[in-house]
């Protein structure tokens, strides 16, 4: 035993786990010290989630063991994990939307008065105190579905703390947060470690790892490729460990040379799915040869904006001009044919027909055009030829163009969509969250493609919740807040902090 080492709170030893032919974890070791923030870094599919699911008892390891405070334990269910004071905040929150904060927190361990009567009042007080103590204030009587996403996350964390967790596992906790909320969360995590709580923090954001982690374990293809002290490395070093080769984190791009206005939106009003106003007198111009980035916390009208431009959502009033042509009221097909390419925000749901082959997905917006169809009959040879060409050009990793698209990894799915949309002859490219949840290597590729499109004279409208992405790619930035553009300026006139404030409050 190394005497200098703090006692271990949680340990994974030689964990192996396979799903059919896929080896998700191959002899994985992880050591989390007491009071440590331990970042688990890796690309999608690297095996991070599998590992923490084993630690939390959701999966059973094929081999290897889990040790809590040095002792081997059987983790057969989350119940066992909770018994051993391990808490987990999933990427997709496990809350009951119609119940109150307190009800959610005590669920499964309800406080009772004599005779088995529920005692929510006492629980609510405890929740309130707990929140105050850790800077996680939330109204214990509020109904969860009415809370903003950042507060729902607080409820998740409080739930683990209520059960006196010694180890807290957070799966991509910052993916849903604004920069300010992220900073706050990191502070909270710091204060938790001061009380001896250990934290496993899954992320693929390098900046956060460097900012907060005491130790980082990097995984690639199911194996641990290294564990290091973040102080001894930098973003490039971590990215290289993650991907296995050196990656360009910031695409080099020349000064933009904007030309004529391609897209001109004037006083657009659009409703959301609940018939509430989503865009209010929204105006925007995008010129050829520029990337216009729309920064904003999700749910401030970005989705409705993209859907209105692409003809998927009816507009209430206002106009959308493509060049000189009024597009409002046109069908999605007409608009697409007018020269709009669209990388949708939700690639599984909106970008791909999963069971269709890769080839069919690559022509999903052009299948009716010559040479892919003649007199209503599909021309398989032409489709396959185009698909083979695009798969090679865009480096889509698939065993065959005839495989169902749903079998591809996230990054490769996104490449299929990018290949399809960028080979579609267009003057405007709408890219909504184009790199969400994909690996660093694919992000680099997609970013390069967006810049290439810009340099080829295409007007690019980039909508992203990733501030880093907006700042590194955009020539101009607009901040959207509650359906309004609250600021527009060239990118270098904004600071990160300013944009963050504009995103959360509408003014800086």
């Amino acid at each position: 035993m190394n005497n200098q080492q703090a006692p271990l709170a949680l340990e994974a030893v030689g964990i192996c786990k396979s799903f059919g032919p896929l080896v998700a974890n191959d002899t994985v070791n992880l050591q989390v010290e007491k009071g440590q923030i331990h970042a688990l870094l890796g690309e999608n599919g690297a095996g991070k989630s599998t590992l923490v699911n084993i630690l939390f008892g959701l999966y059973k390891a094929d081999e290897g063991e889990v040790r809590v405070a040095g002792k081997k334990v059987e983790m057969n269910s989350p119940h066992d994990a909770i018994e051993h004071k391990i808490g987990m905040v999933h990427q997709h929150f496990q809350l009951v939307p119609v119940l109150t904060v307190t009800e959610n927190i005590v669920l499964g361990d309800e406080p009772t008065k004599k005779g088995g009567v529920l005692d929510f009042e006492k629980a609510a007080q405890e929740v309130e105190e707990l929140g105050k103590r850790y800077g996680l204030e939330v109204d214990p009587r509020a109904v969860v579905e009415d809370l903003p996403i950042g507060y729902q996350q607080r409820v998740e964390i409080l739930r683990s703390l209520y059960r006196q967790a010694d180890v807290l596992i957070l799966d991509e906790p910052t993916a849903v947060l604004t920069p300010q909320e992220t900073d706050h969360l990191l502070e909270v995590l710091r204060s938790l470690t001061a009380e001896g709580v250990s934290i496993i923090f899954i992320t693929h954001k390098l900046r956060e790892v460097l900012a907060i982690a005491d130790k980082v374990t990097v995984m690639r293809r199911g194996e641990v490729v290294g564990a290091t002290d973040p102080k001894e490395t930098n973003e490039e070093g971590l990215a290289e460990m993650m991907v296995g080769r050196s990656v360009v984190l910031r695409i080099a791009k020349s000064q933009a040379t904007p030309g004529n206005t391609v897209l001109s939106i004037k006083e657009l009003n659009v409703l959301d799915d609940r018939n509430q106003s989503a865009l209010k007198d929204f105006s925007l111009d995008v010129k050829e040869g520029e990337i216009f980035g729309i920064a904003g916390v999700e749910g401030n009208g970005q989705r409705e904006l993209v859907e209105a431009i692409t003809g998927l959502r009816p507009i209430v009033s206002g106009s959308i001009l493509m060049g000189e042509k009024e597009m409002s009221g046109c069908s999605a097909r007409e608009i697409s044919e007018e020269g709009i390419s669209h990388i949708p925000e939700n690639r599984e749901k909106h970008g791909l027909v999963g069971p269709h082959s890769v080839a069919d997905n690559l022509v999903l917006n052009r299948y009716f055009h010559s040479p892919f169809a003649a007199r209503g009959i599909r021309q398989t040879e032409a489709i396959n030829e185009e698909a083979s060409h695009l798969v090679e050009k865009f480096d889509v990793r698939t065993a065959s163009i005839h495989n169902p698209a749903r079998t591809l990894s996230g990054g490769n799915k996104q490449k299929v969509i990018a290949a399809r949309e960028l080979s579609h002859d267009s003057s405007l490219l709408l890219a909504a969250q184009p790199t969400r949840g994909i690996d660093v290597g694919s992000i680099e590729f997609i970013h390069q493609q967006l810049v290439n499109e810009r340099d080829a004279g295409v007007a690019v409208l980039l909508v992203s919740a990733e501030l880093d992405e907006i700042l590194s790619l955009s020539d101009r930035v607009g901040v959207i807040y509650q359906g309004k553009l609250v600021a527009i300026a060239p990118t270098d006139e904004f600071t990160r902090i300013q944009i963050g404030q504009l995103m959360t409050s509408g003014n800086s």
């Binding site: 692409t310 998927l312 069908s331 999605a332 097909r333 608009i335 697409s336 044919e337 669209h342 949708p344 749901k349 909106h350 970008g351 791909l352 027909v353 999963g354 069971p355 269709h356 069919d360 999903l364 917006n365 299948y367 009716f368 169809a373 209503g376 009959i377 599909r378």
Partner: protein, 350 residues
């Protein structure tokens, strides 16, 4: 290999159903071996019996195609019954109403009018779904009742021959009949041609690609510029068209007139067949022949082995149960997780 794999579940389901049926026959005091040999004999041994089996298979193929096609488009058409019934009625009316036409015109005309009636009846739930969001399962079930009663009224008040005590249309003209060559009914060949045609439409045409895309992922299809409303309406209309053909052939090739109640359950058997065929149009043919063979030989089974004819209904139900169970389980599981359910995605995978 691929065909074999996708046929595995249906074949296992049939075998399991037959085994369970054998147990029931044994328990009821008869010999399963005798019963099943009578089943085979009654449906396939001898040209005449074989012809009868094919004749019974014909509306089942069309009903199965109707349901299968709708599944491909992500829709659950339970209205095959009503669409088939309307097809049968209108074909009957056209069969006796037009006189003096040559066979080459009259028969196809009556057939197509029947099909058009089925298409129109099928399009109603399609329009309701596309414009009002009404679920097709509900509307097609309700329209089955409307169809049955509307047909009865038309038969009673409009098309009944004066003096006929039964509620039915008059006999069709000879020029509207679909003949039988030897023992092979032409109607069966028409149905087989439609099965091949539906397969071609779905697999080879841009329209079929649109239908399948909407069935598998309607949101992605609309993002790709496909009008899902148009596809929903057309899918339901074509589904109704296919069911209408089934009803027309029954009137023009088998019964010679429309009588209410002739086709009790035919439209619902289409659901069994489409599922057994895993929505593959070509596989609908053997699936329909299998179900038809049980219907065709039920009486011989009773005569030779003393087995109640209802046992074939039980076996059919068991087949459906075994085919559908893994699907139902998966569907239930998915819907519990709040995911969007597309029947096409789950049932159109063959």
């Amino acid at each position: 290999m691929k065909i074999l794999r996708s046929a595995l579940v249906p074949i296992i389901a049939v075998v399991l159903a037959l085994l369970a049926g054998a147990l029931l026959i044994q328990l009821s005091g008869s010999s399963p071996l005798e019963a099943y040999s009578a089943l085979f004999e009654g449906s396939f041994v001898g040209w005449e019996r074989f012809g009868t089996t094919l004749e019974k298979a014909t509306p089942l193929i069309m009903g199965g195609l109707a349901v299968a096609f709708a599944f491909k488009g992500g829709l659950f058409n339970i209205g095959g019954q009503g669409q088939l019934l309307f097809g049968a009625l209108i074909a009957g009316a056209a069969g006796y109403g037009f006189t003096g036409l040559p066979w080459i015109i009259h028969m196809p005309l009556a057939l197509l009018l029947g099909a058009a009636a089925g298409a129109a009846w099928g399009a109603i739930p399609g329009v309701l779904k596309a414009t009002r969001g009404a679920h097709e399962v509900i509307t097609t079930i309700m329209l089955n009742f409307v169809a049955a009663n509307a047909a009865e009224w038309l038969c009673t008040k409009v098309w009944r021959k004066p003096g006929d005590i039964l509620v039915r249309t008059p006999m069709i003209e000879g020029s509207a009949e679909i003949p039988t060559f030897g023992n092979i009914p032409l109607g069966f060949l028409i149905a087989v041609a439609f099965a091949l045609g539906v397969w071609y439409l779905l697999q080879k045409t841009t329209f079929g690609f649109e239908v399948r895309s909407v069935g598998l992922n309607p949101s992605a299809a609309s993002y790709a510029g496909i009008s899902t409303k148009r596809i929903v309406i057309l899918t339901m209309a074509i589904s109704g068209f296919l069911a209408g053909i089934g009803g027309s052939i029954e009137t023009l090739g088998v019964l010679g007139r429309y009588e209410p109640g002739f086709n009790a359950g035919l439209g619902f058997d289409g659901i069994t067949i489409a599922l057994l065929a895993r929505t593959n149009p070509i596989a609908v043919i053997p699936s329909a022949v299998l179900i038809a063979s049980m219907d065709a030989s039920a009486s011989l089974m009773q005569f030779k082995a003393g087995v109640a004819p209802e046992i074939t209904d039980v076996i059919e139900a068991l087949i459906l149960l075994f085919v559908a169970t893994p699907i139902i389980v998966r569907w239930f599981f998915k819907s519990r997780q709040g995911e969007e359910i597309s029947f096409g995605a789950n049932w159109g995978s063959s």
